[in-house]
Symmetry: C2
């Protein structure tokens, strides 16, 4: 089947799925979870094909580790689906409602988008996650994973489709697209009218391509050049803790800090401490001229450094003369993901919160908290860095649209 | 200035404007209103240039009527701005908030988009409306009106910019783009990163062009092929009233009904009545074979008729064998704007509401109610027919994004 044929089949499935009750959807999710566990051997076996190909193609061990599935990881996928079943159904939620002066009853109700396209890289567990989140929010999913995980994804989707059908919902609620060719991405991006929203998850270049070429509405995710700004009125201990955690708790995530801005008035006390802690953690500092004065280990930062999302044990560090200079720097180089201030001054934090244009602003807290799990959403399909529709971690409600239902008794204007 | 230079100036203005309090914005809106009234003569004079050009170019009298300004219409623009001042400020609204298990305080707060681009046709009053709505919601506006209204729009924007500056806000909050060339539309559509959202208002072809070519996120508005479905369990009087009102209360609006679907079981009683009422109102009926059997005046409907938004005294009418057939027809030809059912059956209305995928579903009420004013929003910048971000009439909150503000005390993961 072509992508357009799959999308048309998804639309038909979406009509049925939109009318499914929470009980029906949860039953499907629980069956999907059980079947994944039952079919662990088949899934791990299919994964072996991908792993063998990856080794043959000379992919790095870290990539292979992300790709690999074992019984424990399959069980974790199943647990994710069970957790989804426990979450409230966003469909049918009344967002607002009122009775108008003329007696008309107005309700704005959450409804599924219909068909959601996902383009993603890497880990095969995203396949089960995305399928489950889409199903729970009443959407049919078109999944376009990476070529390197195609055998694993095919095995997972085959198990999930069978479970969905056995639970009485349409199997075409979940469909895997051909990942062996770029054409499937192109077709998906042009399937306006059949696909309601496209969510690219992956590297900056994938996201840029989709955003620029798709005629299907896109929710942009994930590129994070996040800053920690240590204000002149910062508490030293909090500044150290927040900076270190933001940078070193995990290097590969979009909410990891990539840049540190230090107010000139606190530079003499704070910089020696943080530079030594970062060195101890094995982080390379790319600093401006003023930062270099504090340590010989500092690599001179280039213009490119300020705009780089390292995703590695590297950080760019600059001394700024004022909070306004910090805001200007963030406006210029930030990606609108997460920006943090460490300060005891209410005036400074108020100005920073108002002045920063980002999905999340942290006050005396690590950038690593921008996460659907940490925010208590229970499920996350990605972190939106755009302003339209959803901004920040996206949970189940972010995968819905709304519909106005207006009830009268023969009302006319 | 080029469009990109104007967009860059708008971004700078937007930073200041985002920090403006409601009091500052309302003061500007009231001054804008006063100045429009004071400068009525200049505005009407500038409008005279557009009118003269329109006559020279042979535009129709109905187009010229929409273009024309007189003191009364200028006063109405001013009133619109005063009403905006009276509405609550959406900026700063806390959409949700909680304290997480670790003590982090989470707030999701409404913030302005930043820079909003509007592409519109026709009436010059849209210029003042759009400028006011953008200002109240904290957004800088880039206004691209029609070439035929350029002199009027230039006069209005000149007055508004001066008022905004005199009220202490940046004049570049409101900018008019060159309307004498199509290039300004193209540049605006490619100004990704400078313009946050683009709202096209006008005919289907304008909207299609913008949706397909813009790399700036778009909110699609306004094409409405709206249906009234008269169910077998309809109350005849309500069915007559709702159908007539939906079609004839105004012909040129997107929420006007363009198609009528009648359940076969009620056709014998309802069709003779409605066909005679529509004929009396001067409406031409384009009917299928079964409808033609009820009146000689019925024009045979072509396949094209079912998908046509007439915006004129025409309506397509079909007899359907079931509610499911009505839903199928609406899925095939509807534009997702407004669909109405007339029925006394709770089962039928429940199925219709669930089965129709549209911005608004009317139960025993006229399609003409889909309107920001009727919904009590106080202001409307258009009616979105897309599912992302905003669906249905868009008021002030729909012109905002959100930002998560997370406050801790040195919190780390």
């Amino acid at each position: 089947m072509s992508v357009l044929e799959q999308a048309a089949a998804a639309r038909v499935a979406a009509i049925d799925l939109a009318g499914a009750t929470r009980a029906e959807k949860d039953r499907a999710l629980l069956l999907m979870a059980d079947r994944l566990v039952e079919r662990t051997d088949d899934i791990v076996h299919a994964n072996g094909v991908d792993i063998a190909n990856a080794r043959e193609n000379g992919l790095s061990e870290s990539v292979i580790d992300r790709l690999a599935l074992d019984p424990e990881r399959v069980a974790a996928m199943a647990d994710g689906l069970r957790q989804l079943a426990a979450l409230p159904d966003p469909v049918g939620d009344v967002v607002r409602g009122s009775t108008l002066a003329n007696g008309l009853e107005l309700r704005q109700v959450r409804v599924p988008f219909g068909v959601v396209g996902m383009i993603y890289e890497g880990r095969p567990n995203v396949t089960a996650d995305a399928a489950g989140i889409c199903l729970k929010s009443g959407n049919a999913a078109l999944l376009r994973g990476s070529g390197s995980a195609f055998s694993s994804n095919a095995a997972i989707v085959s198990v999930l489709r069978k479970a969905v059908a056995d639970a009485g919902l349409p199997a075409n609620t979940i469909q895997l697209l051909d990942a062996t060719t770029r054409d499937s991405v192109k077709e998906l991006m042009r399937a306006r009218g059949l696909v309601d929203v496209l969510i690219p998850r992956g590297g900056a270049s994938l996201i840029k391509t989709v955003v620029e070429q798709s005629t299907v509405p896109v929710i942009e995710t994930g590129v994070g050049n996040c800053h920690v700004y240590v204000d002149s009125a910062a508490d030293l201990e909090k500044a150290l803790g927040v900076t270190l955690n933001s940078k070193t708790q995990r290097y590969s995530t979009c909410n990891t800090a990539e840049s540190l801005l230090v107010h000139v008035e606190i530079a003499d006390t704070f910089l020696p401490l943080i530079l030594s802690s970062l060195a101890e953690a094995g982080v390379t500092v790319h600093g401006d001229a003023r930062v270099s004065g504090y340590s010989d280990a500092v690599v001179t930062a280039t213009e490119e450094d300020w705009g780089t999302e390292y995703l590695s044990p590297d950080i760019s560090v600059a001394v700024v003369d004022s909070l306004d200079d910090a805001l200007d720097h963030i406006r210029r180089y930030g990606t609108g993901h997460t920006e943090a201030i460490v300060s005891e001054s209410t005036t400074a934090t108020r100005r920073f919160v108002a002045g920063v244009d980002a999905a999340a602003v942290m006050v005396n807290a690590s950038t690593r908290f921008t996460d659907g799990g940490e925010f208590g959403f229970g499920a996350e399909i990605g972190i939106s860095t755009q302003k339209l529709h959803a901004r920040g971690p996206m949970g189940l409600p972010e995968l819905t649209s709304t519909k106005y239902v207006v009830t009268g008794n023969g009302h006319t204007r």
